[in-house]
């Protein structure tokens, strides 16, 4: 019988809550989250005996021993970490949440949003510059080869821009939701 299976990661910036609920559902069916897989694009689950668990995620760069002590003391067990930055914890149903006040919860998403924004900005700017130059210069003062290069460069920068800009927008949306609640 299969004891390990892999499931996709729908992008934690977009579906953090949904993914945590998914893990609870899997645990009920006897499949337990074990680690991130495929460079973070998936999760590895392992078969065990069915349990009622809740899952929570926190972003914390360079988390230290004390950080994990706090979780342990509050009944939250570390399940797995990604790049010592994203940490997923599990606890029995009824355990109090890991964030209990609004200011610190806001900070969770604010820091993540700012980080993604910092990554996305250079791609955003270069993408704009490439396409703007192309739009202005193509067919006029730019030689054909140069406008082709601009088009290719612009298209290439869209890819990292999507992977940083969309999470940025997702965190921004979540932050606003937390603030309004």
């Amino acid at each position: 019988m299969k004891t390990v299976k892999y499931v996709y990661n729908s992008g934690l910036a977009f579906s953090e809550k949904k993914d945590m609920q998914r893990f609870s559902q899997y645990a009920k069916e006897g499949w337990f989250l074990e680690s991130f897989a495929y460079l973070g694009f998936g999760y590895k689950l392992r078969k065990g005996t069915s349990k009622e668990l809740i899952y929570n995620l926190d972003y914390r760069k360079d988390a230290d021993e004390e950080y994990f002590h706090f979780f342990e003391a509050a009944g939250w067990a570390l399940v797995c970490s990604f790049g010592n930055e994203i940490h997923i914890f599990s606890a029995p149903v009824g355990t109090k949440p890991i964030y209990t006040d609004q200011p610190t919860l806001e900070e969770k998403y604010e820091l993540e949003k700012n980080k993604m924004g910092k990554y996305a900005l250079p791609f955003f700017i270069s993408c704009c510059v490439f396409f703007l130059l192309y739009a202005v210069g193509s067919g006029t003062w730019l030689p054909l080869w140069a406008s082709n290069i601009l088009l290719v460069l612009g298209t290439i920068t869209i890819i990292p821009l999507i992977f940083t800009g969309l999470p940025y927008l997702a965190h921004w949306k979540k932050l606003n939701k937390v603030r309004k609640s």
Binding site: R60, Y67, F71, P103, T104, E110, R179
Partner: protein, 115 residues
Amino acid sequence: MPRADTLEMGELTDSAYYILLSLLEAKHGYSIMRSIEEMTSGTLSIGPASMYTTIKKLGKANLIKEIKTKDTQNKKTYVATESGISLLKKEIQRRRDMVRHAEEIFKTSKWSDAK
């Protein structure tokens, strides 16, 4: 736009208020959680992520400091600093004033309990 930091405004969030209060005497992280639960008869418990964030913040603002102890389990111990205590006192007065304002207004309103 980042929101104005309450600490910089000289105000304490509820979590920061209780953490500072429990650190009039030196404690390590877990004891802080426990002492807040005891202090509030279990009505307030601070989650580990909120606790860690707030402790780091209070430390950065020099309102609490880490003290070296011979703890074998390598747990960090904290205590409130003088500026922490003085901010806490200011905060207690602020909150006392807030309650007093409310009581005064209520007393003269039709919602008053006193008949």
